[in-house]
Amino acid sequence: MAEVTYLEGIRQAMLEEMERDPNVFLMGEDIGAYGGAFKATEGLLEKFGESRVIDTPISEAGFVGAAAGAAHMGMRPVVEMQFIDFISCAYDMLTNYVATARYRAFLPCPMVVRGPSGGYVRGGPFHSQNPEAAFLHTPGLKIVYPSSAADAKGLLKSAIRDEDCVLFFEHKYLYRRIKEEMPQGDHLVPIGQAKVVRPGKHLSIVTYAATVWKSLEAAEQLAKEDGIEVEVLDLRSLLPMDEEAIVATVKKTNRVLVVHEDTVTGGIAGEITAKINELCFEWLDAPVRRVAAHDIPLPYAPPLEDFVLPQTSDIVRAARWVASY
């Protein structure tokens, strides 16, 4: 069986869900004839026609709001942000209108907002963002950010079937770099479940998205050079977050490093650290530390971007600190 990329996993998820449910339809900029800026919707216009693959005006607030209205009526809209950086243009619609709809008015709003996120790609300040933390603080939304092709597919299918709005972050660095054999059949990955992607006993790294792969690289190096066996926990879903899996790994290794690509201040690592403190402080043998990006708008030039973003060597250095505390 041929291996499937992260990007193709996403395309397959949309295709299969559109075949399964006539209420599923797509909206976004340049997603039709062009197939999307990254080709995530390639071939879907030809297959499903203009009424189910809708090219929109450049108006994120407009089509996210329209998705909400359609969702109230029983449709299952999946909207693409050409780059996830532009989701800020729909921030009001998502946080004020969509996230509150079920609670304040008993209006269901089953919809997915998905798009290419993240750096390491020389995209500069407006094509590299990781804005997931901006939405973690909004009750009513769900947030998913997969690191593997199978998870990307299985989680997107679950997101489309979810009864609430799911923000689906896709890491563009992983789009064509990650390949794996895709599970057969109707492959669903439940939202809200983390996954141990490398077992270990001396130290846990809690992470998600592209830094899962950097953490795995660091774990390999630490095993070889230091004999430290690192457990890597891929959160996969950020809201809801799998607290049980976090507590389990803390109880197992007693030392935790939290890693993400987003900037450090106000980032999700702070929330994870607070959860560990509240849930299982007595199981810790060392302070929880964070590895994340510097608090800088992401610069374009390779030496600048590489300096600002967390690298494998940073994770190795921080892990040694936590392990030897």
Binding site: A66, H72, R102, R104, L107, H202, L279, E282, W283
Partner: protein, 369 residues
Amino acid sequence: MTPTSSPAKAAKTPPAGLSRDQLLELYYWMRLTRTLEERLVALYRQTKVVGGLFRSLGQEADAVGSAFALDKQAGDILSPLIRNLGSMLVRGATPVEVLKQYMAKGDSPTRGRELNIHFGGPERGFIGQISHLGDMVPVMAGVTLTFKLRKEKKVGLVYVGDGATSTGAFHEGLNFAAVQQCPLVCIVENNKYAYSTPTRKMTAAKRFMDKAIGYGIPGVEADGNDVLAVYEVTKAAVERARQGGGPTLVELHTFRRKGHAEHDNQSYVKPGEIEEWAEKNDPLDRSIKTLTTDYGFALDQLTAIDAKVVAEVDAATDEAEKSGPPEPRDALKGIYADPAEAEVLWYREGVRSAVDKNERAQGWGTYNG
């Protein structure tokens, strides 16, 4: 609900296919709106209204006439603004619901979660607004996009004020609806003030209807205090949308005779302006005059409606006052379909904390497995 009327001699034929009974029905909804709001003012002064109170005094015709142009049987849907209590009543909201909602009762339409007239659902023919002005335009674009995709002959109607036309959401939503040719009617209620800001500080355009040109859709206008003119202009736009003609922008000229909310003393309004509108251009006074002069109704037919409305509002008030406040823990329910209820924070549970749950049984030390 209204007394059947027999045509009097030399009475004019009602416009736009309205029956004589429907003329009285329009009067009934306007009177109900005004009387219900007057009752809310009394309750507000008795501190029984928990939050702010928003009046539509002087704008009853624009709300009622436009909502009346939609078809209940067809499944048309509107999204009201804060001055559209009348629109919601026409579509089936009841006085007791509105009273309970304002008084934050546990069995109010939103179980105490939302304020004033922020409630509704597609199945009821009206979808509740949020406070962020203009946001309902994209939402209603999506509701009507669904009508189009499903090939249903339904129409949506969304209200914005003169102020909301300045928002990005208004522009993005109307542009989207125009491009997609959604069956959506957008009504701009030009009531001359957005809170304290006059229209000349809101736009350099001479007329709001002219904004339609930029979207490639028709723009029309009407006297918003003439309920029949409002009905006629809206009905034409609704039927155009129903036949696949796409959106229309309708500007209704009216005047907000009360402040933004009850606390607002309107110090920014030119002296005499409110009084002039009240004396010469009150939609209910004008309706009474038209019904008695042009359509041959007797005044006591209208006063009978007034009395019926007072009785209805009295009964609704008695019923609404009987209800109690919501149970505090109901606050945790229904933010998501799954989980259906949020967890209560540990310090509300008593002394047993989340830390206790994961207390380390074997004491301090490193992992030994």
